[in-house]
Amino acid sequence: MSPTSIFAPVSTPAESILGVSIFVFSIVAVIFVVVFTLLVYAVVRFRSRGSHRTEPAQIYGSTQVELAWTVIPVLIVVALFLATARVIGSIQNQTRPQNAIEVIVTGHQYWWEYRYPRLNIITANELHVPVSDPAHPTPTFLTLLSADTDHSFWVPRLAGKTDLIPNHPNQMWIDPHETGLFLGQCAQYCGTQHAKMLLRVYVQSPEEFDRWVHEQQQLPQTAESAGKRVFESTACVNCHTISGTPAKGRFGPDLTHLMSRDTIASGAANNTPDMLSLWIRNPDAIKPGSKMPAMGLSEQDASAVTAYLETLR
């Protein structure tokens, strides 16, 4: 099954949505079969045969029949509406429990910024959350912001989509019941590289999640190196932050723990030294239209910067 299948939900909001969809689909499927059968029957049974000279009996209408096919659909609509309203209420009116993980998601033109205000972590493109045991739920509540245009956070196996709109903070929540990697994609056209603005949600066991949190809270151990000097003396620092160094830019992803991530460029490429080097020298080769500029570094400097970034664990 596809890794983004809406038919394999692992989180309460996605499960409720699938439930109501199947309910609605079953009812309308029955209606479809009944009405379509009537149409086919009418088409076959009442085709003109033989003489065209005689007219069929003319019937101009019937109040009873009209009432029947008004009232019955109204009742069906009421049933469908109540079922849907209940799901909307159960998802949107959920209160935030004390132990919920809080994450502030900020959409940027073609990447995701994740901040955990209570844990004091800033990361990008790969969201880590703990698995939520239905007996002792530890849901994750996301506050959705945008730094530029409209985006939409949609990981189909976890929840329905919710937009990230500038000046319009939104909320959503997930409580994944399974560990694993769940994929998604920006679901609101946001500009040139909307297509490569991929979502990766890592659902971890509580122990793994705690270890990840601990690692993210440490400063990376980096020695002085040629690459570090190049990084700090070029435009890299205007957009990127590396904690504990003069690099404090906010326009691009935080690189403090770059090597803890599996991918670069918001999921567009694997985080290997080759791809990282290519990304620094020519971002358009991986993600044409990305806001990361080709840095125009010499071969030597580019390799040095790559080597430096490789130390950011």
């Binding site: 609605v24 309308v28 209606i31 479809f32 009405v35 379509f36 009537l38 149409l39 009418a42 088409v43 009442f46 085709r47 003109s48 045969r49 065209h52 007219e55 069929p56 009996a57 003319q58 019937i59 101009y60 209408g61 019937s62 029949v65 009209e66 096919w69 008004t70 659909p73 109204v74 609509v77 469908l80 509406f81 849907t84 309203a85 909307i88 209420g89 949107q92 009116n93 959705l144 530029d148 245009t149 409209d150 939409s152 919710t162 937009d163 709109i165 500038p166 000046n167 319009h168 939104n170 679901a187 609101q188 056209y189 500009g191 040139t192 590289q193 909307h194 297509a195 044409p288 239209g289």
Partner: protein, 445 residues
């Protein structure tokens, strides 16, 4: 016919330029109707090319046929073209041609407004496609708009959309919007004020009723869209902050403005298709329409409810649970009048003597498509289901039906339809009186 044929052949053939000039300066509703349809079909070809480019790009993963920028332009241009310069002109073309004939009027109420509206719509299409050459202004190579046909703010702000591509999109929708509102006023006035003696609203052909509701929806829906275009121009050039989120504007307001146009627009497109079905099915079943007053009421109900469903395009933007629930209810409720229409068509066919000439084949497909679409009305795939097959089959059925009415080659169809055969002496283009008798037969026989 022989006497008339001779008379026509005696008229000297006029030069091509003169005949073209007549088409450009015409205020005749039939000619304008034909112009609308031809214009719509021309843009159908352009929109089709854009769709083909998108499909070719998507034919395999990581295809490099077009760049991301070009792909974004293609889906923006395709969406805008198909809605504003294919579907709307086709709808207006049929309304222009048929409404005056079917109510026994000499022409539309405001013939010159009619011509003005067509040429404003035409100007809109020219603006849109000129963006390929002029979009980037003096900055470099030309480009078409790439903000999506919904053009969500703030992607359209100066910050994110440099050059003039968004301006051409805005001007295009503004001028075609003026044309649409003009035509809608014209249709409403014509229907309300120019019906022949004896044709009360309760005796009016269903096709005219549905086009009347369509025109009312156009006025209600296109006006907010045009207002939003003006606000966008103010934002981009006069320092306004309606949608400029960086200065405190609201992106969500744009979405409301757009979809309070965008959803009623779906009914603007589908009602004329329903209109054809409501004329074709009785004729080719040789039965009067079942439940005429209920059909009229259902149409008006679709018009009213159709104005209250727009935010079902916005379930993801973070409205309150109460607002989302309301729009679920209104969206589901519209299935009731739509269902009534389908059941009435079925009841009209029931017990009839159905003859499957081309118009009826297409009309039954339209009913089938409508059944499928009604079931999925609450879904995101609504657009793909209802906009494509519904109006498409309906309009094709309409074309075939008009051909059957107008041209002698369709005599058999007309005979089967219960009109009796067309007498040979009839001119090729029916006069209002004939259409009137035909439609009176259709609705009241």
């Amino acid at each position: 016919m022989s006497a008339q044929t001779i008379a026509i052949s005696e008229i000297p053939v006029r030069p091509l330029t003169l005949r073209l000039h007549e088409w450009v300066t015409t205020v005749d509703h039939k000619r304008l109707g034909i112009l609308y349809v031809v214009y719509g079909l021309l843009f159908l070809a352009l929109g089709g090319i854009e769709a083909a480019i998108m499909r070719l790009q998507l034919i395999r993963p990581r295809n490099a046929l077009v760049s991301p920028e070009v792909f974004n332009r293609m889906f923006t241009m395709h969406g805008t073209t198909m809605i504003f310069f294919v579907a709307m002109p086709l709808v207006f073309g049929f309304a222009n041609y048929l409404v005056p004939l079917m109510i026994g009027a000499r022409d539309m109420a405001f013939p010159r407004l009619n011509a003005f509206s067509f040429w404003m719509t035409a100007l809109g299409g020219i603006f849109l496609y000129f963006s390929f050459f002029g979009g980037d202004g003096l900055y470099g190579a030309g480009s078409a708009p790439d903000v999506g046909w919904f053009a969500y703010a703030p992607l359209t702000a100066k910050t994110f959309s440099v050059g003039h591509s968004t301006d051409f999109w805005t001007l295009s929708l503004l001028s075609s919007g003026i044309g649409s509102i003009g035509t809608a006023i014209n249709i409403i006035t014509t229907v309300l004020c120019m019906r022949c003696p004896g044709m009360t609203l309760g005796k009016m052909p269903l096709l005219v009723w549905l086009n009347l509701v369509m025109a009312a929806l156009v006025i209600l829906a296109v006006s907010p869209l045009s207002a939003a275009q003006l606000m966008l121009i103010v934002d981009r050039y006069l320092g306004g902050h309606f949608f400029d989120t960086q200065a405190g504007g609201s992106a969500v307001i744009w979405m409301h403005f757009f979809w309070i146009f965008g959803h009623p627009e779906v009914y603007v497109l589908v009602l004329p298709a329903f209109a054809f079905a409501s004329e074709i099915i009785p004729v080719f079943s040789r039965k009067a329409i079942f439940g005429y007053p209920v059909m009229v009421l259902a149409t008006i109900a679709i018009g009213f409810i159709g104005m209250s469903v727009w935010a079902h395009h916005m379930f993801t933007v973070g409205m309150s649970a109460g607002a989302n629930t309301f729009f679920v209810l209104s969206t589901m409720a519209i299935a009731v009048p739509t269902g009534i229409k389908i059941f009435n068509w079925l009841a009209t066919m029931w017990g009839g003597k159905i003859r499957f000439a081309t118009p009826m084949l297409l009309a039954s497909q339209d009913v089938a498509a409508s059944i499928a679409a009604t079931q999925t009305a609450a879904r995101v795939i609504f657009a793909a289901f209802l906009i494509s097959p519904g109006p498409l089959h309906g309009l094709r059925a309409g074309l075939a039906w008009i051909r059957a009415l107008l041209f002698p080659c369709a005599e058999q169809a007309a005979e089967a339809a219960g009109y009796g055969s067309f007498p040979d002496a009839q001119p090729r283009t029916p006069q209002p009186a004939q259409i009137r008798s035909v439609t009176a037969q259709t609705t009241a026989s």
